[in-house]
Amino acid sequence: MNSSDLPPLSASELLRLERYFAGSLLPGEREAVERWLAAHPERAGEVALHRRIAETTAQLRPRPAGTDAAWSRVAGQLTPTQASGAGSRAISFYRSGGMGGATRTGWVVRAGAGIAATLVIGASLSVGRVIGARSGRQPFREFASAPRSRTTITLHDGTQLMLGPASHLRVPLDFGRGEREVDLDGEALFTVVHDATHPFVVRTAHATTRDIGTTFVVRAYAGDGDERVGVTEGRVAVGGGPWAGQRSAQPASTATTLGAGDVAIVSDHGVAIAHGTGVATLTAWTQGRLVFDKTPLPQVVAELTRTFDLDIRVADSALVARSITAAFADESADDVLDAITRALGARYERSGRVVVIRLGSAPTGGRQHPVAAPALATATSHPQ
């Protein structure tokens, strides 16, 4: 330990040593370090320890992860591009496996969102396709709804559900054998026939919702930032977390119980509960109503996109920070856009499906209803 009596190596000397150990020095630099080492034999012990630390750290590895198994799980969830609008990959096949040794094969077939929308615009689409029968994963049926549509589905256990616009629901083929588990991407209102021996479980990307006898609504659109679960009747338990939606998640360890009127907001920060407010907003779509309650504009735009199958762009970033409070019943897309842009002090131009919202109140745009906002709609904006 004579080396501890020496002045400590400078930061640049240490970094040079570190790069020397990593083998990332240029030839000239390398020789300079070696000359320095030869000229400082009193540092030999210290340098040897640094080298040993560096080399041993590189070897301190946890046991290897199960890459093959993980890949087969992931491969089963790959779906073709949603954004490839032109319907160019309406149906795509994906095959995994075949890397020497034991071959693992998985097939996933799924209709692209683009073509689904063009085929069934304005109508509700309800398809139950069998998927995954040949793969290692559990086979399931998938129900999908197009933008602008709501779909009512009755599962064979009697559970009724209404699938919101642009949503996907997966039901395993062995649904009901143990727990009644479904996977949801989007929003749906569930009216569950309670059966304590076969709990009903809804899994979303970030949450697991278990019914305890009930009608409840789950909203989990990928672009929303948070997920919401609202209870209109009975009780449910909600567990949140990055892997809470996965099948391997431990049930209920962090679950929160909700009663009628409660809304759980599952975000990256955990599960927050709002008592007695917000359920009406969350279930408005099931009655064909559109309700915003201090909803940030980006979320409003996403909602309108799904509800009216529009391609809405906000041209002024200043608008993005605003919020909307409004309620609509049967208004047309133009009535809704008109009321919202009016409240924002903005205007919109529409050409077919494409709507551009920008600041300014020039009435000469492509607006089709430059008259007063509909009486039913009250729109206000909240700068944040």
Partner: protein, 210 residues
């Protein structure tokens, strides 16, 4: 500082390759790779997954303790890349992008896990720090490698977290200083400071082995 990524690389066809059984694989230029994934090329995505899944799990397990949880998190990182691939932009290095994304998720997960269950977390930690035995008794230059590894693992665990992260990204994952800076969202100067701090602290902690 960053090495060019368009290189010919020797890749073993199986985990323990007989010398003759190696494949020559052209590792894609990073930008090309991102472009292919953006276009929905599953083969490019699979290659990226196979290259990074294990190292990323090894990195994340340091935050969350259990390997099963680390795998979930890393899997989620890749699924997110795939789901949002159309808008996937990588400013500089795919590697720092992936490590950065994995790190964010790991930190969030740990925050939540801490709130949810501190005890479980502490128990899970054991899976990462290998050999939680007693400190070595006979500390001379000839002590066995295993004792040194154990002492090093404990010394690493005692480092301040940013310092440990920096050191591990460098030594275990071979990231360049600039890549670490982007992964952690700090400056390269800051990374260098943490690296030297780690080297000083580890050496002081393990001085008995000198």
């Amino acid at each position: 500082m960053t090495a060019p990524r368009s290189v010919l690389r020797l890749e073993p066809a199986s985990p323990t390759p007989p010398a003759a059984d190696v494949r020559l694989t052209v590792v894609d230029d990073e930008r090309n790779r991102v472009a292919r994934i953006r276009a929905g090329d599953t083969a490019a995505f699979e290659a990226l997954f196979r290259e990074y899944f294990d190292p990323l799990c090894g990195f994340v397990v340091g935050y969350v303790g259990a390997m099963a949880i680390a795998e979930e998190i890393v899997q989620e990182v890749f699924l997110r890349v795939w789901a949002n691939r159309a808008g996937w932009t990588v400013t500089d290095s795919v590697r720092s992008y992936l490590y950065g994304a994995a790190r964010n998720r790991a930190l969030n997960a740990r925050k939540r896990a801490h709130v949810a269950d501190r005890g479980h977390q502490a128990a899970a930690e054991a899976e990462w720090v290998p050999g939680m035995g007693q400190p070595p008794e006979s500390a001379d230059a000839g002590v066995r490698t295993a004792e040194f590894s154990d002492a090093l693992a404990r010394a690493l665990a005692r480092l301040p977290s940013r310092c440990r992260e920096t050191f591990l990204l460098r030594r275990q994952h071979g990231l360049s200083v600039n890549e670490i800076a982007r992964t952690m969202g700090v400056t390269a100067k800051c990374v260098e400071r943490q690296l030297t701090k780690a080297m000083h602290a580890l050496r002081a902690d393990l001085a008995d082995f000198a």
